[in-house]
C-alpha cells in the first residue's frame, strides 16, 4: 500500500511538474496556481475544522489579511518578495492568535458566529482604511522580479508548487506528531486534555496560529498570482466556499484538502457552461441512482429512506434543464451543494472512498496509524522515587467550594501521605467528586489552601497541576473516544517530548528517538493495566470497564506522584475486582500515592491505608479502615438515623 501511494504521488508530482511544458496555456496554469493556493489555505483550515472540530467562518478574512499584508509590504513599503511572504505569514498568524482568544471561551455555534464577525470586521477595515489599503478601488501587486526579468505565470506556477509541497510537509508531519494528537484530544475531551498536562489554552492558540499562518501564506501567494486584490474578494461567500471545500474533499486528510480545492476552483468554470452543467447533473444523477439501486438490492436501505434524496435529485435535474441563465442561480446551486454535502457526504469524497475501499479491503485503509511497538519487560514504567513514603504529599486545608447558595464542600481538610492509599468515601452528593475537581484545578475553591509537595497549587491551572505530578481519572469516563487506546496514553506522555517545531517538521533523529520511547512507554503502561492486546482499538469501542482501565494507564503516563482514582471499579465485573485491587497496590509499590473514591466498600476497606468520610460537604470521620467501620457518624451517614446516636 505504501509503495502504491509513493508511486502514485510520484506520478502526480511528475505530471504537475511537466504540466506547463505539455500544456502551455496560461489560463490553465493560472487555475492550477489558484488550486494550489486554496489547498495551502485548506491545509490550515483543516487543522481547525478537522482536528479541533470547530467551524471557522473567518478564514476568508485571514486570507485577506495575508493578501493585503504581502501586497502592502511589497508595493507600498517596497520590501523584496522574499520578505513580503514571511511578513504575510507572521501578521496573519498574529491575527490567528487574536481569533483564538474567544475560541478559548466558546465553541460550536458561538465560535462560528465569532469567526463570522471577525471576517466581517476584517472586510470592513480593509474597505475603510484606504490610506493603507486604497479601500474599495483595490491594490495592484505586480509579480516580483526574478533575475532581471519579471516572474512569468510559469515561474510563479513552480514557486506555488514548491510552496504547496513545503506546506504539505509541515502540516502533515506536525499533525502526525504529538502536536496533532493534542489537537485531536482537544476535541475528544478538553477537560481530560488539561488534566493530562496538555494545556487546552496552548493547544487551541497553536491550532489557530498555525491555521492562520497557512491562510497568510495562501493570501500572500494569491496577491502575487492575481496581481490585483480588492476587499470584496474576501467576503462571506469565500469563507463558506472554503468550508465547503474542506468538507467536500474530506476532513483530516491532506488529499481531501487538495481535492476540495480543485473542485471549488474548477466548479465555477464548469458551471459557466450550461450544457456542461446539464451533462454533469445527469452524470451525478445516474451515479446516485445506481448507488441507490445497489443499496436497495443489497437491502442496506429501504426505498422509503431514499425518497427524499431521490426526489430532491429529480427536482434538481429538472431545474438544471429549465433554467436559462446559470449565473443568476449560481448561489442557489452553491447552497444546494452545501446541503447535499452536509447530509449525504459528511466525511467528504475521500472519506466516502475510504469507506468504500474499507468494505472490500479493510487492511488498505486503517483509520489510525497502527502502532506496533511492544513494551519490554526490562523497561517497565517508573515513577519518581518518593522515598519510603509516609511524609505529607498533599495538604488541603479549609477547603470551601460554593456554588451559588450551595456549599458543596465546607471547611474540608485533607492530608495525603506519599506512597499511601487514601480512601475518600461518602454517600452520593457528599462532595467527593467536587473535592477531586478542586484538587486538580478544575474548580477554584471559594476558600482554602492546597499545597502539593510543599508548594501551593491553589489557583494553578489544571494542566499546571497535572505537570506537577497529580494525575486523575474521571467518574464519567473522559477518554479521547476517536483515538486508539495507545494514542490516548501517548497524549498523557506529551510532557516527555522535548522538541522544537523544526524537529517535528523535519523528523530529526531526536524526534524519532523520543517518539519511539513514548510508544514503548505507552505499550508498557497498557500491558500494566491489562490492555496489552488492544493497543490499536478505538477507545470508544472498548467495553466500559476497559475504558476505566485505559484511563488509569493514561493517568500513569504523566509519571505522577499522586493519582486520583474516581470510582475505578464502576463497570468492572466483580470477578475482576481482585485484579484491580492488585493493580492499585502495585501502583503504590511504585511510590505513587493514591486517592481512591469508591463505593465498593470491600475494595476500599481492603486497600486503603487511611480513609476520610465526607457527608454533605463536611468531613465527618478519618482514620484506618477499622475505625471508620465502627464510627457511629459514618454508619448514620450511610444508613440514616441520628448522627449523635450512641454506638450499641
Amino acid at each position: 500500500m505504501k509503495i502504491t501511494r509513493l508511486v502514485f504521488s510520484g506520478l502526480l508530482l511528475l505530471g504537475l511538474a511537466l504540466f506547463p511544458l505539455l500544456l502551455p496555456n496560461p489560463y490553465y496554469i493560472h487555475l492550477l496556481v489558484v488550486i494550489g493556493i486554496y489547498a495551502i489555505l485548506l491545509f490550515g483550515l483543516d487543522i481547525v475544522v478537522g482536528y479541533t472540530g470547530e467551524i471557522s467562518l473567518g478564514h476568508a478574512g485571514l486570507f485577506g489579511i495575508g493578501a493585503y499584508t504581502a501586497g502592502i509590504v511589497f508595493t507600498t513599503v517596497g520590501a523584496p518578495f522574499w520578505l513580503a511572504l514571511p511578513a504575510a505569514i507572521a501578521v496573519t498568524a498574529a491575527f490567528g492568535a487574536v481569533l483564538a482568544m474567544p475560541a478559548l471561551r466558546v465553541t460550536g455555534p458561538y465560535l462560528a458566529m465569532v469567526t463570522l464577525a471577525f471576517g466581517t470586521i476584517v472586510q470592513i477595515l480593509i474597505n475603510e482604511m484606504d490610506f493603507l489599503t486604497r479601500g474599495p478601488q483595490g491594490l495592484q501587486v505586480l509579480k516580483p522580479m526574478l533575475l532581471e526579468h519579471r516572474m512569468t505565470v510559469v515561474d510563479f506556477y513552480y514557486f506555488t508548487l514548491a510552496s504547496v509541497l513545503l506546506a504539505l510537509l509541515v502540516v502533515h508531519h506536525t499533525l502526525k506528531s504529538y502536536i496533532g494528537r493534542s489537537f485531536e484530544a482537544l476535541r475528544g475531551s478538553p477537560v481530560a486534555c488539561d488534566c493530562m498536562g496538555v494545556s487546552v489554552y496552548r493547544s487551541k492558540v497553536l491550532a489557530f496560529v498555525m491555521s492562520a499562518g497557512f491562510a497568510g501564506l495562501a493570501g500572500g501567494l494569491y496577491a502575487f498570482s492575481e496581481e490585483y486584490i480588492a476587499p470584496s474578494s474576501f467576503n462571506f461567500e469565500l469563507a463558506i466556499l472554503f468550508l465547503l471545500a474542506v468538507t467536500l474533499g474530506g476532513r483530516k486528510t491532506r488529499s481531501g484538502s487538495v481535492l476540495g480545492a480543485a473542485i471549488v476552483v474548477l466548479l465555477p468554470n464548469l458551471l459557466s457552461d450550461i450544457d456542461l452543467f446539464r451533462q454533469l447533473t445527469v452524470l451525478i444523477a445516474c451515479l446516485v441512482a445506481i448507488g441507490a439501486g445497489y443499496a436497495v438490492l443489497r437491502t442496506r436501505t429501504t426505498l422509503r429512506q431514499l425518497t427524499v434524496p431521490l426526489v430532491a435529485l429529480a427536482v434538481f435535474v429538472i431545474f438544471a434543464f429549465t433554467l436559462e441563465d446559470i449565473a443568476e442561480h449560481r448561489l442557489s446551486i452553491f447552497g444546494l451543494l452545501i446541503l447535499g454535502v452536509v447530509y449525504y457526504l459528511p466525511d467528504g469524497i475521500v472519506g466516502y472512498l475510504r469507506a468504500l475501499v474499507k468494505r472490500f479491503r479493510p487492511q488498505w485503509v486503517p483509520a489510525h496509524e497502527t502502532i506496533a511497538e511492544h513494551g519490554d519487560a526490562a523497561n517497565v514504567w517508573s515513577a519518581p522515587s518518593c522515598g519510603a513514603g509516609g511524609e505529607p504529599l498533599l495538604e488541603a486545608s479549609g477547603i470551601v467550594m460554593q456554588f451559588g447558595g450551595l456549599k458543596a464542600l465546607n471547611e474540608v481538610d485533607l492530608q495525603v501521605a506519599a506512597g499511601r492509599i487514601h480512601g475518600l468515601i461518602g454517600p452520593n452528593g457528599s462532595g467527593k467528586s467536587t473535592m477531586m475537581n478542586v484538587l486538580t484545578g478544575i474548580y477554584t475553591p471559594t476558600q482554602g489552601d492546597i499545597s502539593f509537595a510543599g508548594q501551593s497549587i491553589g489557583g494553578c491551572t489544571s494542566s499546571h497541576i497535572a505537570l506537577r505530578g497529580v494525575a486523575r481519572t474521571f467518574q464519567n469516563v473522559q477518554l479521547f473516544g476517536e483515538m486508539t487506546a495507545i494514542e490516548n496514553v501517548m497524549v498523557g506522555l506529551t510532557h516527555t517530548y522535548e522538541l522544537t517545531l523544526i524537529d517535528v517538521v523535519l523528523r530529526t533523529g531526536r524526534y524519532r528517538r523520543q517518539e519511539h520511547e513514548a510508544r514503548v512507554s505507552a505499550a508498557n503502561l497498557l500491558d500494566f493495566v491489562g490492555l496489552g492486546d488492544m493497543h490499536n482499538e478505538e477507545a470508544r469501542h472498548l467495553p466500559y470497564g476497559k475504558q476505566r482501565l485505559l484511563e488509569i494507564a493514561r493517568a500513569l503516563a504523566l509519571s505522577p506522584s499522586l493519582l486520583l482514582l474516581d470510582e475505578p471499579a464502576a463497570g468492572i465485573p466483580p470477578a475482576d475486582l481482585p485484579e484491580l485491587t492488585a493493580m492499585i497496590r502495585k501502583i503504590r509499590e511504585h511510590g505513587i500515592a493514591v486517592v481512591l473514591i469508591e463505593h465498593h466498600m470491600d475494595l476500599v476497606m481492603g486497600v486503603c491505608d487511611r480513609i476520610s468520610v465526607l457527608d454533605f460537604g463536611q468531613k465527618i470521620a478519618e482514620g484506618a479502615a477499622g475505625e471508620i467501620q465502627s464510627d457511629p457518624r459514618v454508619i448514620a451517614a450511610y444508613l440514616g438515623g441520628e448522627a449523635t446516636a450512641q454506638p450499641a
Binding site: M101, P102, R105, A117, E237, I240, E328, S332, I442
Partner: protein, 290 residues
Amino acid sequence: MDMLLQILFSGIALGMIYAVIAFGYQLTFATSGTLNFGQGEALAIGALIGLSVVDRIGNYWLTIPVVLLAGAIYGIGVERLGVRPALKAKSEGWIMATIALGIIMKNIAENIWGRDDLKFPSPVSEAPLHLFGASVLPMEIIVIVGALALMLAVELFNRKSIYGKAIAATAADREAAGLMGINTGQVITFSYALSCAAAAFAGILIAPLTLTGASMGAALGLKAFAVAIIGGLTSGLGVIIGGLILGLAETFTGFYLSTGYKDVPGLVLLLLVLAFKPAGLFGKTAIKKV
C-alpha cells in the same frame, strides 16, 4: 443637544430591531440548542413580501399578518430541511445547513425582486415630529412600539398558555419533556416558525426607514447575534438592553466617526463579550460538570 436626542431616538429604534431578531435567536436556542444562521434572510424575505403586498393592497397594517405567516412558513422550512436532520444525527451540520438555506433564499429573492434596493413606502407621515426639541420620524416610534409589543405578546404566550409551558419544558430538558408526552419535535418546529416570523416582522418594521433588498438582512442578522450574546442567550430582558447598547453604539459611531465603520462597534463588542463573559451580561454561567 437636539442632535444628540435625535441620534438617541434612531439608536433606540435600531436597537429594538436588533432586539426582535435576537429574541428570535433565543426562542430556537432555548428549545433546540440551535439557531438559524439565515435569520437575516428571513428578515429580508419579510420586508420584500411586505413590499409586494403593500403594492397590491396599499395598506401597511394588513400586510403584517401576511408577513408573519410567510416568516413562519420559512421558519418551518428551515427547521425541517436544515435543523431536524442534524439534530437527529446529533451533528453540528445545522450550522452549514442553515447558512446554505439562507444563501439559497437570498438567491431566490434576488431573482424575484432584483438585485437593486427598493424604496418601501412609509405607512405614516415622513415629516418628522418635534419631541423635546428633536425631530423624530413617526416610523421610529412605530418601530419601538411594534417591537416591544411583539416581544411582549410572545412572552405572555410563553408564560400564560399551556403551549408556552411545553416550550419552557422543552427548553429546560428536551428528553424529560419528551418523556412527559410533549412532542418536542413539534415544539422545536414551532419555535422556528415563531423565530422567523419575528425576524420577518422586524423586516417590515425597519424597511420604511432604510432600503429594502435581498442583501439587507446579512449584517442585521449578524449584529442581532451580537445582541443576543451581549444580553445572554437565556435572558429575555437582556436582548432589549443588548439591543439598546448596540443600537446606540452604532448610531453614535455612524455620526461621529464614519458610516463605513458603523458595523464595527457591535462586532467588536461581540468578540469582547465572548472573550471575557461568554454567558453574556445577563446570562447565567453554567457550571461544568465533570
